[in-house]
């Protein structure tokens, strides 16, 4: 197991955000945290990142207890819903940030930084935009910069908080297919939060369905759709587009062909 969170509880005042949550995430998979808004899924993500401390419970990375580790020592890549780019830096500097701030002993030299950044830039298909500032980019482009910036530090886990939430429907669909393909290229363990059922089922290897601070069901997209554990899951997934699961089985390139043929 790569990442494990066990019996985590979190309260905000009197509001119970997480109630005895336990999830284990195998290495190299994409996990979706799916649930209605306010269900606690973002809190889980922020606790894994170290942006939030749980009231009780344990967070383990590779079997090592990380519960008291500071965020900067956790080596997580975090992608925010509203991109959170450094607006006074251009695309290149944004992506290079994580490498440049390393202590001198482990900081790569300028040439290596340049190579790494350029490799990431072409990975996120922004080769012609390295000198642009965030304000000169579209939402989808900004989010790809944010993703490249997170990947630059070679994180052990990639955490994405509603990464497509601020984008329009068309870009959102393109970007999630692209994310899935990207993950096939660099299989870093990824956890992403979403309230969109189709998005969760289409992108992820397994889905964690969360409601009112509790985990309702964990399973592959097929499992949660075919055999929902309880009425809530059944109801929550009732209006899912059956196609989104089929799409994934077929593989991305077939999907793109289907799209061209207008299916």
């Amino acid at each position: 197991m790569n990442i494990e969170i066990a019996n985590v509880n979190k309260k905000f005042g009197n509001f119970v955000a997480l109630d005895d949550v336990s999830i284990s995430i195998p290495k190299g998979e994409i996990i979706a945290l799916l649930g209605p808004s306010g269900c606690g899924k973002t809190t889980i993500l922020r606790i894994i990142a170290g942006l939030e401390t749980p009231d009780s419970g344990v967070i383990k990375f590779f079997g090592e207890d990380f519960s008291n580790k500071k965020i900067k020592d956790r080596k997580v890549g975090f992608v925010f819903q509203h991109y959170a780019l450094f607006r006074h830096m251009n695309v290149f500097e944004n992506i290079a940030f994580g490498l440049r701030i390393r202590p001198r002993k482990i900081r790569p030299d300028e040439k290596t930084i340049r190579e790494n950044v350029m490799r990431l830039v072409s990975l996120v298909q922004l080769d012609n935009f390295v000198n642009r500032f965030p304000s000169e980019l579209s939402g989808g482009q900004r989010q790809r910069v944010a993703l490249a910036r997170a990947l630059a530090v070679e994180p052990t886990v990639l955490l994405l908080d509603e990464p497509f939430g601020a984008l329009d429907a068309k870009v959102r669909k393109e970007l999630r297919l692209w994310l899935r393909r990207l993950h096939d290229e660099i299989p870093v363990t990824s956890i992403f939060v979403t309230h969109d059922q189709d998005e969760a089922l289409e992108v992820s290897d397994s889905v964690v369905i969360v409601n009112k601070g509790k985990v309702e069901q964990i399973g592959s997209p097929e499992e949660v759709c075919d055999s929902p554990a309880n009425p809530f899951v059944a109801d929550f997934l009732s209006d899912v587009d059956e196609l989104s699961i089929k799409k994934k089985k077929k593989g991305l390139f077939n999907v793109i062909n289907d799209k061209r043929q207008g299916i």
């Binding site: 942006l51 900067k72 975090f78 925010f80 959170a84 450094f86 607006r87 006074h88 994580g98």
Partner: protein, 275 residues
């Protein structure tokens, strides 16, 4: 020059431009051009003689050095104050927040008298300082203290809203990339606040340059020593030397305009980089 640059979708451009131009003309442009026209009555040599008078030059030095020193102090401490007001909640915050604007509200002469009292050798802070043989009152340092007092709200009130608008997740993103507090502050937060900080300090500087009321009470106003330009102008006026006064005034105007123009230009270039 075509009067109508480009047809805008929003109506009322002509009216609002006309209104603001005439407003500005009556309030700013006409009085200022009157000053320059008055100063232009004299020949270039005469003007040169007035300006290069040793007393005038030393007054310019005192004014500019104190205004720059005060603006730099406000740059640092105004930023810290704005930071605290924007980021933290503490007991009495509302009162501190309200106090910031006091230098705007009270007559500057009153401010000058109270500062002079507090910093005089018998005053609350002055008696403490005199133990170390430091005398603020009637020295150039006293001028800087008065200008810091006057300029503080300019820095705080321009920077505070910018700090309040900073996106928390940007700091979190930097932390997740491995940045420590020091790096987050100097590489992420400070550069995004800097343009506003420069604007605030430039406003404090220009306000300090023209400040009269508070300074004359705390400064000894010794010619060649601690006499500021506005005071020199007043003295000239009292001696009915209108030409001399307007020559100095016009010079000050031009220098202040150039400095403000440069800071505005620098600031807009910094903003352009990101918008």
């Amino acid at each position: 020059m075509p009067l109508r640059m480009k047809k805008s979708k929003i109506p009322g451009f002509g009216l609002s431009l006309g209104l603001s131009l005439s407003y500005m003309s009556f309030l700013i442009l006409i009085p200022i051009s009157a000053l320059i026209i008055y100063a232009a009555k004299i020949s270039p040599e005469e003007y040169f003689n007035i300006i290069t008078d040793a007393r005038v030059i030393s007054a310019f030095k005192v004014s500019f050095i104190s205004a720059i020193a005060a603006a730099m102090l406000n740059f640092v401490f105004g930023f810290i104050l704005a930071w605290i007001l924007a980021k933290y909640d503490f007991f009495g915050k509302k009162i501190v927040d309200a106090c910031i604007d006091l230098p705007f509200a009270i007559p500057t002469a009153v401010a000058g008298i109270s500062l002079a009292m507090v910093f005089s050798p018998k005053g609350f802070i002055g008696s403490f300082l005199s133990l170390f043989n430091v005398s603020l009152e009637y020295s150039r340092v006293g001028i800087v203290v008065a200008l810091v007092f006057i300029g503080l709200p300019f820095v705080v009130r321009t920077v505070q809203p910018v700090i309040e608008e900073l996106d928390n997740s940007v700091e979190e993103a930097a932390a997740s990339l491995g940045a420590n507090y020091f790096q987050i502050f100097f590489k992420v937060i400070f550069p995004s606040v800097l343009p506003a900080l420069i604007t605030g300090a430039a406003m404090a500087f220009s306000r300090g340059l023209g400040e009269y009321g508070s300074v004359i009470f705390i400064s000894s106003n010794m010619p060649y020593e601690s006499e500021i330009v506005p005071l020199l102008i007043i003295k000239k006026l009292m001696q009915f030397d209108y030409v001399g006064a307007s020559a100095i005034g016009a010079t000050m105007l031009v220098i202040a305009f150039i400095m403000l123009f440069i800071t505005n230009y620098l600031q807009s270039r910094m903003i352009k980089e990101r918008s």
